[in-house]
């Protein structure tokens, strides 16, 4: 090849292309290469510094959850037909891939009770931001009214989007006192006006409480004409009213609980479903069903005129990363669970979560943050330093949950522990958590302040 381009060496290419003044002029200061065996040993050492959900009894949540991932999912995901190809640029050749997307979209549509779904998004919080962008495209209005019950990362992502587009973000607080823990309905209705582009809330909210989604949607439509957006936890859709039945216009969320492990907090996928009138403003790929010249059923990518390769800067999204493999895991998981399975799972989570909350709230120095119904996660207020309590629990091999203040940095979150329950946490596990937490809180309360 060097001969073909008339150059004597690779070095000569660099010398001819890169001005001498900017050339380094020496070898790079890298350590010696290692053998494969040595690399493996080194990486194993590094990995051993991590503690995974398999190494401790974990009650961590706050957006991603330690659900059981059946072997069936790995078996299908690791098929080279799914695992190895990049995003197909002649999509109609990949009928299998398109069919998976179509089945996935159908499943999401059925779960959310909304007629149209895309083939997945990057993850949860950016799907919420994409919904806000859809609202902006739809109505060109300036204000985003958002519930303080949204995940802090979602709030941050919305603020980033709003900043870029000169939109105003109005945060609506949660109620306090005995009926506390959900989006304040009066503040919510009061904040929404004719210039509100979207009204956004989470279901369940960040502190685990079930919101009155139908009331929030109705109040929003009374106060203005915003696009009503709900960020929902997909696992709860087996027992909570689907967003489509609650007046929600766009339902989005983090798909990780469906068939994806925690990994390092990703990769995962987000889902995005909406009413038909918003179809042309939706981001992401959309698989469509059609017939070929011989009348046989086939699949295509449809409504591509929303996308970047046609609309460039006017596209409905600026994100290119495809999470199709993670979405595949999601649809396989839903097929594995089935219609009954997702309901049974929801009921199981509901009863275990309530059991856990009652057991823990009965401990000295531990109380419920709110009395709202919960499905799979709840917040507690500890009469002790949460980080110190967690440290004592971790030393016992139990991760009691998320230190909310450490995650959010908000003063009102001091002392709050967020505890998540999945089907992998048995009643005995919950009893163990109660035992360990009780001891940890008691020790910290006795400790003399410095």
């Amino acid at each position: 090849m060097l001969a073909a381009i008339g150059v004597s060496s690779v070095q000569e290419i660099f010398e001819r292309q890169i001005p001498e003044g900017v050339r380094l002029g020496r070898e790079l200061d890298l350590p010696q290469g290692l053998s494969e065996q040595e690399v493996f040993a080194h990486l194993s050492q590094l990995a051993a510094r991590n503690v995974s959900a398999e190494d401790e009894l974990s009650f961590l949540g706050a957006g991603m959850y330690d659900h059981y991932v059946p072997a069936l999912i790995d078996m299908l995901m690791e098929r080279s037909e799914f695992l190895t190809p990049y995003t197909p640029y002649q999509p109609e050749i990949s009928q299998g891939g398109l069919q998976v997307m179509f089945e996935y979209q159908t499943a999401i549509s059925e779960l959310t009770g909304l007629p149209v779904s895309n083939a997945s998004t990057y993850e949860g919080p950016s799907a919420v931001a994409a919904a806000a962008y859809l609202a902006k495209l739809h109505n060109s209005k300036r204000r985003l009214v958002i519930s303080a019950g949204l995940h802090p990362h979602t709030i941050e992502t919305l603020r980033t989007l709003a900043h870029g587009y000169g939109m105003e973000v109005v945060l609506v607080a949660l109620t306090s006192g005995s009926a506390g823990g959900v989006t304040d309905p009066d503040a919510w209705a009061g904040a929404i006006d004719d210039d509100t582009s979207a009204a956004i809330f989470a279901q369940p909210n960040f502190y685990g409480a079930v919101e009155d989604a139908a009331a929030l949607s109705a109040a929003a439509k009374d106060a203005g004409e915003p696009v009503v957006v709900a960020q929902v936890d997909p696992i709860t859709l087996g027992i909570l009213q689907p967003p489509g039945a609650c007046g929600v216009d766009v339902a989005v969320g983090e798909g990780q609980p469906l068939g994806n492990r925690l990994d390092f907090g990703g990769p995962s996928f987000g889902f995005f479903a909406a009413r038909e009138e918003y179809l042309r403003r939706m981001p992401g790929r959309i698989a469509g069903e059609t017939v070929d010249v011989d009348g046989r059923r086939g699949f295509v990518l449809t409504l591509q005129t929303r996308e970047q390769h046609i609309r460039r800067e006017k596209a409905t999204s600026n994100i290119c990363t495809a999470q199709a493999l993670n979405a595949l895991a999601g649809v396989v998981y839903l097929a594995w669970l089935g219609r009954r399975g997702i309901v049974e799972l929801g009921e199981l989570l509901l009863s275990r979560t309530h059991y856990a909350r009652e057991q823990l709230a009965a401990l000295a120095g531990v109380e419920k943050l709110h009395e709202q119904p919960v499905v799979r996660e709840f917040a507690l207020r500890l009469d002790a330093d949460v980080a110190a309590v967690r440290g004592r629990c971790l030393a016992q091999g139990v991760n009691p949950g998320v230190d909310v203040h450490a995650l959010s940095g908000r003063d009102e979150d001091r002392g709050v522990l967020l505890v998540a329950i999945t089907e992998r946490r048995s009643r005995a596990d919950i009893d163990r958590l109660a035992e360990v937490l009780q001891a940890a809180v008691a020790s910290e309360r006795q400790a003399v302040p410095a």
């Binding site: 042309r280 591509q304 005129t305 046609i310 609309r311 006017k314």
Partner: protein
Amino acid sequence: MAEASYPEDLLYHPEHDWARIDAADPAVATLGITWYAQDSLGEVVFFDLPAVGASVSKDASYAEVESVKAVSDVIAPLSGEIVEVNEALADDPQKINEDPYGEGWLVKVRIADPAEREQLMDARAYAATLGG
């Protein structure tokens, strides 16, 4: 419409848009895209109707036409205020292909500056721009 046609009674903009002004009501112009534009686009699948009351500026885009694989800006040949939009296109955007000068009309505008008409081409001049 299978055959290229450029009616004599219309005024043309180089970006493949036409304006029709009826002697009966010269304050209002009907706008649309030419045979050449619809032929280049292919089958039109969507036309996002602009709002009545919106203003359009000569040489600027006021709407978009979508075919299966492309999106094209629609350029206003004249400035003015939209007084009527072709609602039928919401359900049947293919009229733009089938009858670009008749049932495929896009909007009607109240003309802001009649003098702008001088800057547009007649059918022959426009067809000549396509020839080369």
